[in-house]
């Protein structure tokens, strides 16, 4: 599915290095988690996979289903089936949810969307996410509460049907009930699409109570320093990142 090989990158037009020789392999149907303290490059990694304009890859490759993503622009990456649920979704006034999603589905499928089926599917997904039907016609993320923004990301995910889902701090700004609703919708999607892989980026293990990971990676100073299973996330919850020897060594080296 996704293979990141020796990836190093920096902020464009600066010398500020963010990721350093990072490698990660995610197979079909696997759920991986990247955890780490603030400022270690977790969100940057998600943006680089998606081709964000602010970052420059210095070396390495990102291969998605045998295609080198670094040769493609952001929209082409999304059309291959990668979806990034953003930590702080952008507000876009004047462009309605339904209008932009209809256009996006048309561009992904390369054919006209049947309006009736589209509205029915939107309504069903909105109901499952406890979103009101007026979400169809509201501008993207304009005037939404924190919970509505995150649910809207999950709504888009369900409509666009990706093969790889990246959840960048889905749990930030969400109350417990809303987090449950979002995660149960994602789990239902994963049940229906068994080959879909997930990359979760988070500070806290709370979200992992609802979406069970196969692997947990700890990122520090732009590289993965430790990999384990769910128990590693539990260890961090109990003792904090400072309990990880590799972080202490890494910080010491820096």
């Amino acid at each position: 599915m996704l293979e990141i090989k020796n990836l190093s990158c920096k902020v464009k037009d600066t010398d500020k290095k963010i990721l350093s020789n990072l490698s990660l392999k995610i197979n079909d149907g696997e759920t991986h988690v990247i955890m780490g303290p603030n400022g270690t490059g977790k969100s940057t990694l998600s943006k680089i996979i998606m081709g964000h304009y602010n970052y420059e890859v210095i070396s390495g490759d990102i291969i998605f289903n045998n295609t080198n993503l670094l040769e493609l622009d952001t929209s082409a990456r999304a059309r291959l089936g990668i979806f990034l649920a953003m930590q702080d979704p952008t507000v876009i006034s004047g462009v309605s949810n339904s209008e932009f999603l209809k256009e996006a589905i048309q561009e992904i499928k390369g054919e006209k969307v049947n309006l009736y089926s589209f509205i029915k599917e939107m309504e069903s997904n909105m109901k499952n996410l406890n979103l009101s039907n007026d979400m169809l016609h509201r501008s993207i993320n304009e005037g939404y509460s924190g919970g509505e923004k995150k649910k809207n990301e999950v709504l888009q995910l369900k409509m666009l049907k990706p093969k790889l889902i990246i959840l960048d701090e889905l749990d930030s700004g969400l109350d417990v009930d809303s987090l449950k609703v979002c995660c149960s919708n994602i789990n239902n999607y994963l049940k229906e699409n068994k080959n879909t892989s997930v990359l979760i980026i988070t500070h806290y293990p709370r979200i992992l109570e609802y979406i069970k990971p196969d692997y947990v990676h700890i990122l520090s100073n732009g590289k993965i320093i430790k990999t384990g299973d769910f128990s590693l996330a539990k260890e961090i919850e109990n003792s904090g990142y400072s309990s990880i020897n590799e972080i202490r060594k890494n910080d010491y080296c820096e």
Partner: protein, 206 residues
């Protein structure tokens, strides 16, 4: 020069295409105006002549040559309200100027005067915005803002990250920026509005 010259005395929603505008609101009512202009100078004069008179004015302009948009809003009574949303897209390397004056004279207490102005330069146009508030009264609530530039790259990134091409993303942003009617579906059979929508489709950038 064609002028839409109106005296309004009840709640109204008005769509205006291309013309200059002179409107007097002479009753306590809410007036909502959507004004679409392609490539010409525009003069707009609004008189709020009755307590409780309230106007929401949405001005949208697609510009190809050097043009000036002159807007004057006179608060001639106490407790009058004006909210102006002026959006322009300057397509070529020309000068688009928004000169917007909100005028509240002495003793017009309790009035509210807001204006938000934005010009998107698609090429290397030289745009100007003068958002003036000429206020001779203490008990007034007012605000003004001005933005000249291109669309925020985060907006383009967000749309592209959902699979939209750069062209489609840019088109959606321009349409959302210029078509300020929430219920514009009702207008799609209107010939003047169709001309404006078709003009949006011609704009390329990003």
């Amino acid at each position: 020069m064609i002028i839409v010259n109106k005296i309004i005395e009840k709640n109204s929603i008005i769509n205006i295409y291309q013309e200059d505008v002179s409107i007097d609101i002479n009753a306590k009512c809410i007036v909502e105006i959507y004004h679409y202009v392609i490539d010409k100078d525009t003069n707009i004069k609004i008189n709020l002549n009755c307590q409780g008179a309230c106007i929401y004015y949405h001005y949208s302009n697609i510009n190809y040559n050097d043009h000036i948009v002159n807007i004057k809003i006179y608060h001639n009574e106490k407790n009058t309200i004006s909210n102006f949303y002026n959006h322009g897209v300057n397509v070529l390397d020309n000068n688009l100027s928004f000169l917007v004056d909100g005028i509240i004279s002495k003793d017009m207490d309790g009035s509210i005067c807001n204006q938000e102005n934005q010009i998107i330069n698609v090429s290397n146009g030289r745009s100007t915005i003068c958002p003036n508030l000429l206020i001779d009264c203490y008990d007034v609530n007012s605000s003004h803002s001005a933005y000249i530039g291109n669309f925020n790259l985060d907006k383009l990134f967000y749309l592209q990250s959902r699979g939209l091409t750069i062209d489609t993303s840019y088109h959606l942003l321009i349409k959302g920026f210029l078509i300020q009617n929430k219920n514009f579906k009702d207008l799609e059979n209107n010939n003047d509005f169709k001309v404006f929508l078709d003009e949006i489709l011609k704009i390329r950038g990003g």
